[in-house]
Subunit: 491 residues, 2 copies
């Protein structure tokens, strides 16, 4: 196991100071050009050396006819060329002294017997020169902290805590938007393609050591180095959670994986066993994988399974209660002390059972600070699940009716929502050992919820997703305890 | 069973030509005022008669001191008054000849022994005058076709095909936004509250006969008239699907339901049995209920379980294949004839297995017409599941790079996306017996997907949700066949 990311063959690939770019040109419709354009759009500050046979300037950068002409030996070669010139290009890179590459080009193992031969040749060139490379047939990497995104789609949102190693390039490049909308961002993301030189186990090792990665996510169609995977995962899960989406278990998924990356897969039961052994949480869908990641990356360890649901609507409250029950969470009754503290703040129609159903708000400010503050102080509970019907939808109407001038309403509403969000977020510091989670049926992009997401309060589109994510967090820590106990017994 | 909605006690409540409004005033902060404001916002064209002791004009409408003074007998009384004057008000309505009411006020059975007594009194008044009423403790109804929304939140989106009968008012008033974002709208929605006079069975009967309702959805905490419910549902499911969300089955859900509407509930197994017997599809979450409704309301009956997945990204394709496998759908191989037809249209890197992985687009127009048209012509398949990565995100970049003037880009992109959507939607008419479903990880509000949703192509945020919804459609028709067979045997 590596102790720091610098020891990983991926270090120079994910954190290059300079890149030789093969396949970018001034014709934007080429994939390489799009990738270079994405790099430029995010503002990468390292050196870029396009290599192009005829163009002198490529997208504003001085270009070179041959990699051998470069004024320095770059950290990384990024190769997006027609299949039949990839091997020669890698050889030239080797001659120049380049020791790390990303081979985006396809047409190798995934393309049948001829492709397999070609891949072997590529591997032997790499060995000869001591080159470690990602791919072929991959989309490379994204490192938002380095403002480096050499993928086909421009990045969105802020860097975050989710590390992803993926046997699909799409789940790197097409997920910026998804993660941002759901309150997350990548710490680093790697598409492994055919895994000729660097495989998903190497990625796991890197992400395990990466200080910016709080949660590791894996998209798996099939693992080759099974034993090493288990050993690596077992070393990581005691200090960092891993969530895996494995799609090769069903007949349909297996077929699809084979034609996609040529990977071999095993029945679900085998992977379930492997994941359990390593303390990896398995997700059934991409949605679930990132739902779990959000909770794992933002919540403290809950001290138990006991949830209080705060709602002002009976149906969403009952639905959330049902979801919690299904997920193995319990709903304790509020203590007499808590009820006593709540009374002055809640309408007389409110129910002080759990869910606490406020029915309506005497003062919406209370919903975002005083009331949840009391609930988080409840000694019999570990988790607060709050139904967040954005009060913004009422505020506009009320202000309009009260004669607030139309042009000042948006600013007033924004101010009020920002205050609510500030108050709610401040509860995290006041109750550092309790988990605070929200759910809404409205868009996550409405101001108050968006602001909570941006500041590390997980909010889900359905109470079921919230409850399952919280249950996954509990499962992670429980399995970690068991693994640590096993280890100390063995020692 | 009723044959037309006019026979239902709900007819005048959902389709009133005139309403006596109790509890609205010029003080907007009262719930009744908010409800009247919502009615005005949507543009209801019937007569509104506010009844108020002191105000002469209420929100622009002439008000009356007593209901007895009204110039006509309105179809409906809507009562949002303090608990202790509700009975007297209903009595006055009875004297005036009003025969239908919505009692929004709470403080009845759900509020303990005193409340139960009060509810009995309300019921006896109603019986004496032959009044049928919704509630108490409900949010009433929404009938978007009549531009009538007397709930606390303003309506959004267009009227649609989803009928909802709900033991939670929130799921009426708070779902306009949700349904609109997901490509649906209400045909009619009813919140039943304490069900003193009209219960969820009456609603089911109404929605079964309602020609605008293509799918019935039910939010259930507990059913009282079990036998009548089964009988009514059994009469409806042979011609109209019903999807039910029942939350009273878990310990936590049961407790929550009891304190919400005071309803009694039974273990999950009993409801599962009832639903199965009636051909009702059970959903575990609100998300799932409306996911099923979308597919049931838009898709033709698929002739079988065979899906072709169209994708240009391997990972999303494999994930969709895995989800289909889990949902009981199968992925047939494409016939030689289909592959032959596809060849000229797809890149040579594409995989003609199923999923059909295009890898990239030679011409994005083909993805939205010629390619799916060929796939829908495949004799071995019944369903097309298409991964919709909005091409809009590439179009802007390409046009900018090609030097299209910045200010004309949005309009050009909009035109192109509208054309893609037109083409894709036209496939429905060309292949009326095939089911066309989409999925995306991007927002449903991006132009092309939004346009598909608006025109009856169901698009989901995850292939799992798409696959499960399609499987629910198949289950509905299969159970219907079984029920019809059973009936013809019995006859």
């Amino acid at each position: 196991m590596i102790r720091s990311i610098e020891e990983s063959p991926l270090y120079a690939i994910i954190n290059p100071k300079s890149i030789a770019f093969f396949g970018a040109s001034n014709n934007f419709l080429r994939m390489g050009s799009m990738m270079l354009s994405s790099v430029q759009a995010l503002g990468y500050e390292g050196k870029i050396y396009p290599v192009h046979q005829t163009e002198k300037i490529v997208r504003g950068h001085q270009a070179y006819t041959s990699v051998l002409d470069l004024p320095e030996t770059p950290d990384l070669a990024l190769i997006v060329l027609p299949t039949d010139i990839v091997c020669q290009t890698l050889e030239d890179c080797g001659k120049k002294g380049i020791r790390h590459a990303i081979v985006v080009s396809g047409g190798f193992r995934e393309a049948g017997p001829d492709g397999s031969e070609r891949q072997k040749k590529l591997e032997s060139i790499a060995k000869r020169y001591g080159i470690r490379f990602l791919g072929p047939n991959c989309l490379g990497i994204a490192n938002p902290y380095l403002k480096l995104n050499p993928t086909t789609i421009t990045a969105e949102g802020e860097p975050g805590f989710v590390g992803l190693a993926s046997q699909s390039g799409s789940f790197i490049t097409q997920m910026f938007n998804y993660l941002h909308r759901h309150g997350m961002g990548f710490s680093a993301a790697v598409s492994v393609g055919n895994e000729a030189s660097i495989d998903i186990v190497d990625c796991l090792e890197y992400l395990g050591a990466c200080p910016r990665t709080k949660v590791i996510t894996l998209y798996i169609e099939g693992i080759t180095r099974g034993r090493k995977f288990v050993e690596t995962a077992k070393a990581i899960t005691p200090h960092k959670p891993i969530v895996a989406l494995y799609v090769g278990g069903s007949e349909a998924g297996r077929h699809a994986g084979r034609s996609h990356t040529g990977s071999m897969s095993c029945p679900n039961e085998i992977y379930d066993g492997i994941f359990r052994q390593c303390g990896i949480l398995r997700a059934q869908t991409l949605t679930e994988m990132f739902d779990y990641a959000l909770a794992l990356g933002t919540l403290p360890r809950p001290q138990g399974h006991r949830v209080i649901i705060q709602t002002h609507s009976g149906g969403p409250g009952a639905t959330a209660a049902d979801a919690c029950g299904r997920a193995g969470l319990t709903l304790p009754a509020l203590s007499a002390e808590t009820v006593e503290k709540l009374k002055p703040l809640i309408p007389k129609t409110a129910s002080t059972a759990n869910p606490l159903d406020l029915t309506y708000s005497l003062n919406s400010t209370e919903n975002f600070f005083n009331i949840p503050d009391i609930l988080l102080g409840e000694i019999n509970a570990d988790i607060l699940l709050a139904y967040l019907l954005s009060p913004g939808i009422f505020v506009d109407r009320v202000m309009r009716e009260l004669g607030v001038p139309e042009e000042t309403i948006p600013a007033e509403r924004e101010k009020m929502m920002a205050q609510h969000a500030d108050h709610f977020v401040s509860l995290k510091d006041l109750h550092p050992d309790k988990a605070i989670v929200g759910f809404t049926y409205r868009s996550l992009q409405e101001q108050m919820v968006r602001s909570l997401l941006d500041r590390g309060i997980p909010v889900y589109q359905d109470p079921e997703r919230a409850a399952r994510a919280v249950a996954a967090v509990l499962r992670y820590y429980e399995s970690r305890d068991v693994m640590k106990k096993g280890r100390s017994k063995a020692a």
